[in-house]
């Protein structure tokens, strides 16, 4: 086929693209996967029984705010990565900012605690289960965000995969926080961050292979 014929073929007939194509793709991916993740959590782990009292504690909301802040800032990064030629600008700093914030909170809590209490602030009761649970709960969003990106045009595949994993980890952790009764910032700063980092690393490994176009 000659190039002129290819041009004629591509420009033939309906060439219009709805202006909200990208938005719709993200909306479908994120709403569906958030719903599936919530169902998965409710059916397997269950919402913590004392949710009504927990919801009155600031730390419950701080946990949710941290995980959502990571998810939202990862989304900002992805949204730029998915459009060729758009610079990332300040968006990666938002991701690091969210993590830095929770690390500062953890450092303050550890600094103010008695020496003997520090280990329990970090390990809590559930440190063994937490990272694996968050990583597992991130699977639906992981698949959904990869699907969304496959319909867009990321040119930095490893970074896009990592950001997709980070977003999925944030969604998984946000949902997990309704089950988890750990309330110490050092716990959050260690095990939540680790749980979110797992899908991010897997995303970085899978990006070059699955996001090619």
């Amino acid at each position: 086929m000659k190039t002129d014929d290819l041009i004629a073929m591509l420009a033939q007939g309906e060439v219009a693209v709805p202006a909200d194509t990208r938005k719709r793709r993200y909306a479908i991916a994120l709403s569906t996967s958030a719903l599936v993740t919530a169902l998965l959590m409710v059916m397997t782990l269950g919402v913590r029984p004392d949710i009504a009292t927990a919801a009155q504690l600031p730390m419950f909301w701080a946990k949710l705010a941290f995980t959502l802040a990571l998810a939202i800032s990862a989304f900002w990064v992805i949204e730029r990565l998915a459009r060729p030629g758009v610079k990332l600008g300040w968006t990666p700093m938002a991701v690091f900012g969210a993590v830095a914030m929770v690390w500062v909170m953890a450092a303050i809590a550890l600094f103010n605690a008695q020496a003997g209490d520090r280990a329990s602030l970090i390990f809590g009761q559930t440190w063994i289960a937490c990272p694996a649970a968050i990583a597992t709960l991130s699977v639906p969003a992981f698949i959904a965000v990869f699907w969304a990106l496959r319909g867009l045009a990321p040119t930095r595949l490893r970074l896009s995969g990592a950001a997709a994993g980070l977003l999925a980890g944030g969604v998984g952790a946000a949902v997990y926080s309704f089950h988890c009764y750990e309330m110490a910032a050092p716990f959050l700063a260690t095990w939540y961050v680790l749980g979110i980092a797992i899908p991010a690393m897997i995303g970085a490994a899978l990006g070059p292979r699955f996001l090619r176009w």
Partner: protein, 184 residues
């Protein structure tokens, strides 16, 4: 902002709104820029230039929904051309064949070349390998110029299935190029 940027951007925006003639003019002019850009960077693989021009055109068409009206068109086109160039070189295991750094995005519209070589890879033949539900909608709508309604009636498919077939078929064609080159 260069005159080419402004004119091409205007054509693309009209194309994205559904004006096929404007879109045709956009692709036509863009092709000359892509050819000059790629020819300048593939001096050791001159036979590959036209293939890569076609591959990049197909990519630009398939990903046209990722262009944001607030963004310079040069940056968008350059990023896609660069991605396709690096990808093609990697497939050939010939990254060193690239003899020019790729960082100046303004360069993409700087030169223009309307003299094509022959493409070595025949997209028409690759098209024949597509599954029938993608191939026939493309043949009738994109090659013979039938409307969606006419194609749907002719093939006994719904109108949305016809549109999906064209869309998926052109994406599959782009994916086949990658596999085809890897095996050669």
């Amino acid at each position: 902002m260069s005159a080419s940027e402004e004119r091409l951007r205007g054509l693309l925006m009209r194309g994205l709104a559904g004006e096929a003639t404007a879109y045709h003019a956009f692709l036509k002019e863009l092709t000359a820029h892509l050819r000059a850009f790629l020819r300048g960077r593939l001096t050791r693989l001159p036979d590959e230039v036209e293939d890569l021009v076609q591959e990049t055109l197909l990519a630009i068409h398939n990903q046209r929904h990722t262009y944001d009206a607030t963004q310079p068109l040069t940056a968008w086109v350059h990023a896609i051309a660069r991605y396709k160039l690096i990808d093609a070189l990697r497939r050939r295991g010939a990254r060193e064949a690239l003899n020019d750094p790729l960082n100046d995005e303004l360069e993409i519209f700087a030169a223009s070349d309307i003299e094509p070589d022959d493409a070595r890879r025949d997209l028409g033949r690759l098209l024949e390998q597509l599954p029938i539900r993608q191939r026939l909608p493309i043949v009738h709508m994109k090659l013979e110029g039938l409307s969606v309604t006419e194609t749907a009636r002719l093939l006994g498919m719904s109108e949305s299935a016809v549109k999906v077939g064209v869309h998926r078929g052109l994406k599959a064609l782009a994916a086949m190029i990658g596999r085809n080159d890897e095996n050669r």
